[in-house]
């Protein structure tokens, strides 16, 4: 495995983000019996950011997170978590909610939270006390003394989520946190994640639902086939696609039509095309001079979904849609 230099880590290499990095990964590779699950992944997550890893099932999201957390070792590449390449050294400042949730069924809810805290170095009694408080705060006070086996799947998931946060971690890693939650609890979780980031906690999560990433993330990594074709701010991802122009004209024919870009397509009175590199002003001038009779004109910035399609390819986008359907 390569070794990182001793220089200070700062966010967004090549970019302007001066924040120190919570996570840095360079060229991570993981193979399983001839199958390359992760193939040269690079990630940089600034401290205090909400960072999304976006990709369909099987893209390598969980394997990447597991390598970052030290659950499995990479076959090649380097990873640094909160300044160290030995993740267990900073485990007491990290929280992790795995995709496959799991608690001991015989434990009571507050005991489970206390135990998860104890694993992260919080004294057991303190963790249990905080567990009771957290359950009360989140409207689960009635479940404090209930065994995990007596709770619904969704409630058990919330208990585990609270256990992930009981020790006030600096970095929280969620693997598909929204799966298995109803819309109401998805909203609650989004608010909780924003709250964590506001307090300075770094949040990194994987998802195959673009809407969550679009609403929450400062930065995303798009992962497909074990590779990361894009990692950076959401705005930069969206800017990978030129904005789309929708034009409505009174006239159907005229010299102005020669000024439209080559990809322009016509539907009724509307024209759709990508904003030209030269900007909108030269086009507007040509339309006015050519007497096109502009009825309406709008420029729409591309969404993250379009960016994902453009970056990861149609196949990945189709897989993403399939995953969403299966989730429903």
């Amino acid at each position: 495995m390569m070794k990182l230099g001793d220089g200070p880590m700062t966010g967004n290499p090549g970019g302007a983000d001066p924040r120190p990095l919570a996570i840095e990964a360079r060229g991570l590779v993981k193979r399983f019996e001839g199958f390359t699950a992760v193939d040269g992944v690079d990630l940089t997550v600034p401290e205090g950011a909400i960072y999304g890893i976006l990709g369909p099932n099987g893209a390598g999201k969980t394997t990447t997170l597991r390598m970052l957390l030290g659950i499995i070792e990479p076959d090649a590449g380097i990873r640094r978590l909160l300044g160290t390449d030995r993740p267990h050294e900073v485990a007491h400042t990290v929280g992790y909610l795995p995709e496959e949730r799991g608690l001991y069924p015989a434990m009571k809810a507050y005991e489970a939270i206390g135990f998860l805290g104890a694993l992260r170095g919080l004294p057991l009694a303190e963790g249990r006390r905080r567990g009771k408080e957290l359950l009360e705060e989140h409207g689960l006070g009635y479940a404090i003394d209930r065994q995990i086996r007596q709770l619904s799947k969704g409630m058990a998931q919330q208990v585990q989520l609270l256990g992930t946060l009981v020790h006030n971690p600096r970095l929280v890693v969620f693997d598909e946190p929204f799966s298995g939650l109803d819309a109401l609890n998805q909203g609650k979780l989004e608010r909780m994640m924003r709250g964590l980031a506001e307090k300075g906690t770094t949040v990194i999560f994987s998802t195959h639902v673009i809407a969550h990433a679009e609403r929450l993330c400062d930065e995303v990594a798009i992962i497909a086939g074990g590779k990361v074709p894009f990692a950076g701010p959401v705005d930069v991802a969206r800017d990978r696609i030129r904005p789309q122009v929708r034009l409505e004209t009174r006239a159907h024919e005229g010299s102005w039509r020669q000024a439209l870009p080559g990809d322009a397509r016509h539907e009724g009175t509307h024209w759709y095309f990508t904003l030209p590199e030269s900007g909108i002003e030269p086009l507007l001038r040509a339309l006015i001079e050519g007497d096109a009779g502009i009825l309406s004109l709008s420029i729409e910035r591309a969404g993250l979904h379009d960016a994902f399609v453009a970056i990861a390819g149609e196949a990945a986008a189709r897989a993403l849609e399939q995953d969403k359907e299966e989730m429903r």
Binding site: G58, R66, I71, I72, H92, E100
Partner: protein
């Protein structure tokens, strides 16, 4: 969630104790633990019942009941003589039961009486004390002939009437006797150690199945080193075993002591009883951790309880092999076999406990204990590494069965990966 907490990085040992505490309390407060405690008491109960019955049978065989059919005066004399001699000779003297007091001139058919055998008699004495006749099975009456003769002599007034008190002057056993007796103590110690290890270490096999089934293994693996998970599980099971052993020892010891046994029945081990028991505790713990670390590693690779059950048989055979090796080595003192049994980590605890029974030196125990601790650490680390490599991965759910020349290169645009575990 705003108040600051003082969390600190856990050492491997501290992390292991978190896991151990959880496992220990979970097992101790489970209903099945009660049955775990009761389990070995059943064989103890059955054993003591069987022993009691056996003892009774043995006593009845060793102390037969002989019928007496003589004149009333002779019968009285025989009974008095039996009582007097039984006080001196104990169980060696047969019991007497009056079959019939014969009138003068009355004939008595002892053979017919024995055939009917209403009183379950071993033989019948007839005639007179001066001329007794013993009727019974040929192979038995020869044994009782002398004792019946002594009875009759006493009844006739010819035997000793008083018995002087005999002063006792004991001497230490010879070196050869002592060595022989200590071999027995060593064998008993080895066997007890083996039985306890076999009974208890096998439980470790299924120890990670729960975590794998509950998916909590990933939470553990992310928070603490896998070595700590393994060590914690071993510590917990060892503690559970000690609770069990303490209960069994208390109950079994009380029954054993109540039955009139004591340690004085056995030759004291060379290192003395307290040190021997202390070493027994240490060697059980180390033997348990050594075998347990192997079982835990093997069991961790199993995905279902059924697989664990399948694995338990070869594992038991492995334990037997160790025991036989250590027993064999004990019979070959001073040879390379004995040294090998001390060095091979899995037979070392058995061998060293036997050594403690036979030899006084303690330094060799310090060396082997250090060696065994090192082996436990290495085995735990190796087991954890294997588990991490073989189990904690999210590789493809199924490996392609197609031959390499039939595989096609993946389309670069195609999304690859395992659909179950991204």
């Amino acid at each position: 969630m705003t108040s600051p907490h003082h969390t600190g990085r856990l050492s491997t040992l501290a992390a292991a104790l978190v896991v151990a505490r959880r496992d220990f309390t979970a097992i101790l407060f489970s209903r099945s633990f009660f049955f775990f405690l009761l389990g070995p008491l059943f064989p103890l109960l059955v054993g003591s019942l069987a022993g009691g019955i056996g003892q009774k049978v043995k006593m009845s065989v060793e102390r037969p009941i002989l019928g007496v059919a003589m004149s009333p005066a002779d019968t009285d004399a025989m009974i008095r003589a039996q009582k007097a001699l039984a006080d001196q000779l104990g169980p060696a003297m047969p019991s007497l039961l009056v079959v019939r007091e014969l009138k003068p001139g009355e004939q008595f058919d002892a053979v017919a009486e024995l055939k009917s055998n209403r009183a379950n008699l071993a033989a019948i004495v007839t005639g007179t004390p001066l001329k007794p006749v013993l009727t019974g099975p040929q192979d038995r009456i020869a044994d009782w002939q002398g004792r019946v003769g002594m009875l009759a002599a006493r009844a006739a007034g010819d035997g000793p009437m008083t018995f002087p008190a005999v002063g006792l002057n004991s001497v230490a056993t010879s070196k050869a006797d002592q060595t022989q007796s200590r071999v027995l103590t060593a064998q008993i110690g080895q066997t007890v150690l083996f039985l306890l290890t076999m009974l208890l270490a096998g439980m470790v096999l299924s120890n990670l199945v729960e975590e794998k089934g509950n998916k909590i293994i990933e939470v553990l693996a992310a928070a603490i080193p896998m070595d700590a998970v393994f060590l914690g599980k071993l510590f917990a099971m060892l503690a559970v075993s000690w609770v069990g052993i303490s209960v069994w020892a208390l109950v079994g010891g009380a029954v054993w002591y109540g039955a009139g046994h004591s340690l004085a029945d056995y030759a004291a081990p060379a290192v003395g009883w307290p040190t021997y028991f202390g070493l027994g505790v240490i060697y059980f713990s180390l033997g348990y951790l050594l075998l347990g670390s192997i079982f835990l590693a093997i069991g961790s690779l199993a995905t279902t309880v059924r697989e664990v059950q399948t694995l338990s048989m070869p594992v038991t055979m492995l334990q037997l092999l160790n025991f036989f090796f250590a027993s064999f080595a004990m019979a070959m003192p001073g040879t390379w076999v004995e040294k090998a049994a001390m060095i091979v980590p899995f037979s070392s605890p058995f061998m060293m406990l036997a050594t403690a029974a036979q030899h006084e030196g303690l330094w060799i125990h310090l060396v082997t204990i250090a060696w065994q601790v090192l082996c436990v650490a290495l085995l735990v680390r190796a087991g954890a590494a294997m588990f991490k490599k073989r189990v904690m991965q999210s590789g493809p759910a199924k490996v392609s069965k197609t031959r390499f020349w039939q595989r096609r290169a993946p389309d670069s645009a195609e999304v690859t990966g395992d659909p179950a575990t991204p």
